[in-house]
């Protein structure tokens, strides 16, 4: 086995790019949010990954977000990015963001695009080449939707 063949190919590099690896190694807003007003669990029954998303909403605006749980690099990085992105958004914009992210990662944009700019979420779009991994990237976003709309059952990727 030569060194050259051990280099990750471009699809793998797209999936595990530096931003993703950084957020998975050092997830932001990781832990419990004591004064959360909205909480939802996300479960991926395929792999057993689960996370809990905490939001604090004031006057219909997300003023704080945090998460805890276990997951692969993709699901942890996605949750970490989510907590940064949704903080400061109002409820409707956050829900629109959820719809756009899920559509985008499933390869369905631009139809139904609410937000003109997905920003750093685009770092996750490498999953589109890995059908089995799309659910890892969308898990936290499903939980976001559940938390904001007050679902009592855990969000699942199925």
């Amino acid at each position: 086995m030569t060194v050259a063949t051990l280099q990750p190919n471009s699809e793998l590099r797209d999936l595990y790019q530096e931003l993703i690896l950084d957020h998975s190694r050092r997830p932001r807003n990781f832990g419990k949010l004591g004064d959360a007003t909205h909480i939802a669990d996300g479960i991926n029954p395929l792999c057993g990954d689960k996370l809990r998303l905490y939001l604090r909403l004031e006057d219909d605006q997300v003023v704080a977000a945090a998460f805890e749980g276990t997951g692969c690099a993709i699901s942890v990085a996605s949750a970490s990015l989510l907590t940064e992105i949704v903080t400061g958004l109002d409820r409707t914009t956050a829900l629109n963001y959820f719809e756009d992210v899920v559509a985008h990662l499933n390869g369905k944009l631009p139809a139904g695009l609410h937000t003109p700019e997905l920003g750093r979420v685009q770092a996750l779009e490498g999953v589109r080449e890995f059908p089995a991994r799309v659910k890892c990237a969308t898990l936290a976003w499903q939980a976001l939707e559940s938390a904001i709309s007050g679902q009592s059952r855990p969000a699942t990727t199925e």
Partner: protein, 415 residues
């Protein structure tokens, strides 16, 4: 030293069988497919594919019905497969071979038909911490229905059953013991003969989940002496959707039917129904005939190869795999029991099993990742899941070398 073992004639014979498996003759992501997921579902040899195609092309009709030629041929093929299974597992009688949709249905059948009518609040069903969900949930359901309690015997950090604890849990409230023969997640081979003997000394019936036993070793019902043994065709190189429940005739005779429908009856009037004899009493509706024909062909295939040779080949490969994997820095092996089948679960430090699985897949290497439908086993180790390489008769040392190189690449991605 492994090389010397693998150069023996048994291995040469076995290695040549790889060409019997059409699905293995392909590239995935530009590299020769390395299939290390046989514990989830084994690949099917061309002989089995041909038997199914031949049946569908020439002999298909419904079984046990009609006097026409095709119906007769279909019945012969279906019942012939039952006879093959009987011989394969050395059951005393063909009446003891219930053809099911798989291991899961077999265990549900026993839970509902054998246990449910007699269980009372305060009774216990004893299982082990090694069980797959299919040998947990059916018992949870029957416990909910009857007020009985499900109790779980512990394992140790090597993935071995704590036998002292297990045997100390046997008391007169235990009405059923259900244990896995071979753990799908860890490969542990349970001491099933001893379990059965100790339970029978206390008149406790025993069901063994044999889904991972039958593909790897000779399984003899009269020698094991268990009361029920459930397994699946697709783990033993046959098609999916078919399985076998072996049960002792005296027990099956006393049990009510599991499902009602055609084929399981002798006479139906609106006043009542007379059930058919064994084994048909438990086979309601038109069965998966072509699947059963495929199962019969898989039995023929394994018997022609010889399960002793399969066991020896897999034992050599497992030892080579464990040795090679152990040499990788930052790797943890899960399942290191003294008696193991050819399955190895592992993780790399700080790398989630799914990420490992994706990187391996991208090099044409198929492993299972996740909880392997054995969440309590993962909970025992405090991990969400593992990557698992499981071997079949068609694997070789080159497959394992590819796996090791693939894991090295994952280490680089996450370095």
């Amino acid at each position: 030293m492994k090389q010397a073992c693998l150069d023996n004639s048994a291995d040469t014979t076995i290695a040549a069988l790889r060409s019997d498996f059409p699905v293995l003759q392909q590239e995935v992501h530009g590299q020769r497919l390395v299939y290390l997921d046989s514990a989830a579902s084994a690949q099917v040899p061309r002989q089995v594919i041909a038997a199914i195609a031949d049946y569908q092309s020439h002999d298909h009709a419904n079984v046990h019905r009609g006097v026409h030629t095709l119906s007769h041929r279909a019945t012969e093929a279906y019942e012939g497969a039952r006879d093959k299974v009987q011989a394969f597992i050395n059951a005393r009688s063909r009446s003891e071979i219930i053809l099911t949709s798989g291991t899961t249905e077999g265990i549900n059948l026993v839970a509902q038909s054998f246990c449910r009518p007699v269980l009372k609040p305060g009774d216990k069903i004893l299982i082990t911490h090694l069980e797959h969900h299919s040998n947990i949930v059916p018992w949870q359901i029957v416990c909910e229905q009857t007020g009985a309690e499900l109790v779980v015997a512990p394992i140790d950090s090597s993935g071995q059953l704590d036998q002292d604890a297990f045997f100390s849990m046997l008391d007169d409230r235990v009405k059923m013991v259900a244990a896995v023969h071979v753990s799908n997640a860890l490969g542990t081979v349970n001491p099933v003969r001893e379990i059965t003997a100790r339970c029978h000394a206390l008149d406790i019936p025993v069901l063994l989940d044999g889904a991972q036993g039958v593909p790897h070793m000779t399984v003899d019902m009269q020698n094991l002496d268990c009361d029920f043994y459930a397994f699946s065709s697709h783990k033993m190189y046959g098609p999916t959707g078919v399985g076998v429940l072996y049960g002792k005739e005296s027990l099956l005779d006393e049990m009510p039917p599991y499902q009602g429908g055609g084929d399981m009856i002798l006479e139906v009037t609106f006043d009542g129904t007379t059930y058919n004899d064994l084994p048909y009493k438990f086979e309601a509706g038109t069965p998966n005939i072509s699947g059963v024909v495929g199962l019969g062909a898989a039995v023929d295939y394994l018997q022609a190869v010889g399960l002793e040779k399969v066991s020896a080949h897999e034992a050599d490969l497992l030892s080579y795999m464990m040795q090679q994997l152990s040499a990788i820095p930052d790797i943890q092996l899960y399942g290191t029991a003294a008696s193991k089948a050819s399955v190895q679960s592992f993780l790399l430090t700080d790398v989630h099993a799914h990420d490992l699985g994706t990187i391996l897949d991208h090099q044409g290497i198929a492993v299972r990742t996740g909880h392997h439908c054995a969440m309590p086993v993962m909970q025992y180790f405090g991990i969400p899941g593992t990557a698992r390489a499981s071997l079949g008769l068609y694997n070789n040392t080159d497959d394992i070398d590819r796996l090791v190189a693939g894991i090295e690449k994952a280490r680089q991605v996450f370095a």
